[in-house]
């Protein structure tokens, strides 16, 4: 039987993979994709807590669906983040001709 802990474990593993990608990889595109992986892991925990709530009566008027509305907003923000992030990658590539995040060091003191 699949319980909430299975879903939470999957979310934790997916978040770890995304964080690993951000830490280890140097390609800016793959770093952005890893950020998307982490956002999806967060969505999965929202949906899990929405499906298997810890309280008997929902604390808000939305009922136990407030997790779903939160995921809706996370998806919208993630789409905006991807658009602006990729635009920044294009702008930096135009001036530096590289996507290696180690060479994006103009702001370094």
């Amino acid at each position: 039987m699949v319980g909430p802990l299975h879903y939470l474990f999957l979310a934790a593993a997916l978040f770890a993979l995304g964080a690993l990608g951000v830490v280890v990889r140097r390609n800016a595109l793959i770093v952005l994709m890893s950020i998307e992986l982490m956002l999806n892991a967060v969505n999965l925990t929202f949906l899990t807590f929405s499906r298997f709530p810890l309280v008997r009566v929902a604390p808000t008027q939305t009922g136990f669906l407030s997790g779903h509305t939160a995921v809706f907003f996370v998806i919208a923000v993630a789409a905006a983040e991807a658009a602006v992030g990729l635009a920044i990658v294009i702008a930096v590539f135009r001036s530096r001709t590289t996507v290696n995040v180690d060479e994006f060091d103009s702001l370094k003191f």
């Binding site: 039987m1 699949v2 319980g3 909430p4 802990l5 939470l8 474990f9 999957l10 934790a12 593993a13 997916l14 978040f15 770890a16 993979l17 995304g18 964080a19 690993l20 990608g21 830490v23 280890v24 140097r26 390609n27 595109l29 793959i30 994709m33 890893s34 992986l37 999806n40 969505n43 999965l44 949906l47 899990t48 929405s50 499906r51 298997f52 709530p53 810890l54 008027q61 939305t62 669906l65 407030s66 779903h68 509305t69 809706f72 907003f73 998806i75 919208a76 993630a78 789409a79 991807a82 658009a83 602006v84 990729l86 635009a87 920044i88 990658v89 294009i90 702008a91 135009r94 996507v99």
Partner: protein
């Protein structure tokens, strides 16, 4: 029974495709693996009876966001030498250990006692009310979070304009 089998199929799919994203050297392969990962995740969302979110996942992530990624990969048209060598350094090892330690700590300490038996009882009787369908989530969105919902449209407009301004060479 079917739920269990499907869950483990999706489990392996999500983690395998996610690992392929982090591992692959070529961004095109990473993007394709990311699409696969998002589709498997949509399956997991269906198992959690989040129907609307599963459809949104396929349409917004696997559709719109991934097309954006593939377009940018095509636009940059990276040569093989521009992809660079991924070197293994001490700091990357330390970073990997830190990530593994942090997530492992969360899994061991937080998940153990997160769920009393109460949680399982509730799960069955809330499904009868059309949980997670377009109708119920739409009602929740429009009745109780109208302002954030409308502000989302403003956010997306700002993102569109911002992306054009940033990516355009000269205004």
């Amino acid at each position: 029974m079917a739920e269990t089998v499907l869950f483990w199929i999706f489990f392996v799919g999500v983690l395998g495709a996610g690992f392929a994203v982090v591992k692959s050297r070529n961004p095109v392969n990473a993007a394709m693996s990311l699409v696969a990962c998002f589709f498997f995740l949509a399956g997991v969302y269906l198992l959690l009876s989040a129907h609307l979110i599963a459809i949104l996942q396929v349409m917004v992530y696997a559709g719109a966001v991934m097309v954006l990624f593939v377009f940018v990969i095509m636009l940059l048209n990276l040569k093989d030498e521009e992809l660079g060598r991924e070197r293994v350094t001490v700091w990357k090892g330390i970073g990997t250990l830190a990530v593994a330690g942090a997530i492992g700590l969360i899994v061991v300490r937080a998940m153990r006692d997160a769920y009393p038996a109460v949680a399982r009882d509730l799960a069955a009787d809330q499904l009868s009310t059309g949980f997670g369908t377009v109708r119920s989530v739409g009602r929740a969105l429009y009745l109780f979070s109208v302002l954030p919902f409308e502000l989302t449209s403003l956010l997306l407009t700002v993102a569109i304009v911002g992306a054009v301004v940033v990516a355009k060479g000269k205004i």
